[in-house]
Symmetry: C2
Subunit: 235 residues, 2 copies
C-alpha cells in the first residue's frame, strides 16, 4: 500500500463506471488496485491498445468479472485532456476483448454505453485483437515515425519542409507527432506481432526499391495497382 | 504531324493561358506541340510534380519563354475531372521553376494568377525542386503504397481492415489509392532522388526494428522524441 491508495479507493467508490486511460505500462500496475477497490455493483474499463499482457495480469484477480476490456478504434496524435475531440467515437468501431470473462451485467452496461454513442461493437479474443491492431494500427505509427525521421534527416532546411508539405505529406507524417509515453509501451507489449508486420513492410519497401532501381516500370505499375486495392476496403 | 495536331492548335489558339495537366511521361511529349502552336501573347503552364526532365526537353524550344513551369503543392489521391475540389489551392504553396527562363510578361501573368487564389509563391531551380519534392512528397507515396501492400498481404480478412481501420491508419494509407498512371512517371523522372531518400527511409525503419528486436526501449523513446520534432515544423 502506498500513500496514493486511499485517494484512489475514495475516487473509485463514487463512480458507477471507472474508465482507466493511461499508457499501457502504467495500465498493468494501475488496474489491479482499482479492481481491489471495486464493489460488486461497479464496472471498470480500460481503453488501451494492447490486451494480452493486461488480461494475463488480471486473470486471477477476484474482481476480474467487474472488468471489461475495450479498445475504441479512434483517437488523434495529441495527448492530454486539452486534446479532447467532440464526437470522436461516433460511428467508429470499439473492440470488446474476452467478453465472456466479464460478468454479464458489467458487459451489458458497457455495451449499452457504446451502443448509445453510437459505436460499432466488435468482439475479439485478446490474441486476435493484438494481432489485428498490429496490422491495422501499430504498423502505421512505425512507418510514420520512420518517415518523419527520414525527412528530418534528409531535409536539413526546415523552412523547405514547411513550404513544400502538401496534404499528402502531412497525412502520412501526422502520427509521428504521437507521444513515446503512449507508443513505446504498446510496441513493447505487442512486440512480436509488430516485428512480424514490420518485417513484411520492410520486404514490400525493398521490393518497390528493387523495381525502381532496375527500372522495371511495369512491375512498379503492377505493385501500385495491387496497393490501390485498399480503395475497395476503405473507399 | 499526326491528325490530332490541328485540333490541338485550334484549342490552343482560343486561350490566353493554356494549362497542361497530364501524367509526366505524356507531359514531355504533349508540351512541345502545344508550344509550337503558342503565339507571342499566350502563356503555357504545366502543373506537374517533376521538372528536370521536362525543362531539359523544352530547353531549345523557340517558344520556351512563353512557358512557365509550376507545381502547386496540393492535390488528392483521386484523379480525373470528377475529383475536382473547390478551394484546393487556397493558402498552399506553388513552386515556380527556373523562372528566369520565362518571358517577364508570361511570368507576371502566372504570378498574378497564383497570388489571386491566393497561393504562396516559391521560386526554385528545377534540380532543387526535384530534390525537395522527393523528400517531402514522393517518399510519402512510396511509404503509403508499401503500407497498403503490407496490410493487404498480412491481413487476409478484409472485413477486419474495414472494422479496425482508425483515422490514423486511413491517413497513412490514403495516398496508396493514387493512380500508377500519375506516379510511375514521377518516380521514373525523379528516380535517383527517390532512391536516395528511400534508402534513408529503409535505414530508419531498420533502426527502429533493431531497437524493438533487442528491447532497447530507451533508444526507441529517443527516436520517437526525435520524430516528434516534426511538430515544430508542421504544428
Amino acid at each position: 500500500m502506498d500513500e496514493v491508495e486511499p485517494d484512489l479507493a475514495t475516487a473509485v467508490r463514487r463512480a458507477d463506471l471507472i474508465v482507466v486511460a493511461v499508457p499501457m505500462d502504467a495500465m498493468v500496475s494501475v488496474l489491479p488496485p482499482v479492481l481491489d477497490a471495486t464493489a460488486a455493483h461497479q464496472v471498470v474499463i480500460d481503453v488501451g491498445s494492447t490486451k494480452q499482457a493486461l488480461l494475463a495480469a488480471l486473470a486471477e484477480h477476484p474482481n476480474r468479472g467487474r472488468f471489461v476490456a475495450v479498445h475504441p478504434m479512434a483517437g488523434t496524435e495529441h495527448s492530454g485532456p486539452e486534446a479532447a475531440v467532440s464526437g470522436l467515437f461516433e460511428g467508429k468501431t470499439v473492440v470488446l476483448c474476452d467478453a465472456a470473462h466479464s460478468d454479464p451485467d458489467a458487459l451489458r452496461m458497457v455495451e449499452d454505453l457504446f451502443h448509445a454513442l453510437p459505436m460499432r461493437l466488435l468482439y475479439l479474443d485478446a490474441a486476435d485483437h493484438d494481432l489485428h491492431t498490429a496490422y491495422v494500427s501499430h504498423i502505421s505509427h512505425i512507418t510514420s515515425f520512420a518517415l518523419a525521421l527520414t525527412v528530418l534527416e534528409k531535409e536539413k532546411e526546415e523552412q523547405r519542409i514547411f513550404d513544400l508539405a502538401s496534404g499528402g505529406f502531412e497525412s502520412t507524417v501526422r502520427l509521428a507527432k504521437s507521444s513515446p509515453a503512449t507508443w513505446v509501451p504498446i510496441f513493447r507489449q505487442n512486440r512480436l506481432n509488430v516485428l512480424d508486420v514490420l518485417d513484411e513492410h520492410l520486404h514490400q519497401l525493398q521490393h518497390l526499391r528493387e523495381l525502381l532501381a532496375r527500372e522495371d516500370y511495369e512491375g512498379l505499375t503492377e505493385q501500385i495497382q495491387q496497393a490501390n486495392h485498399i480503395r475497395k476496403i476503405l473507399p
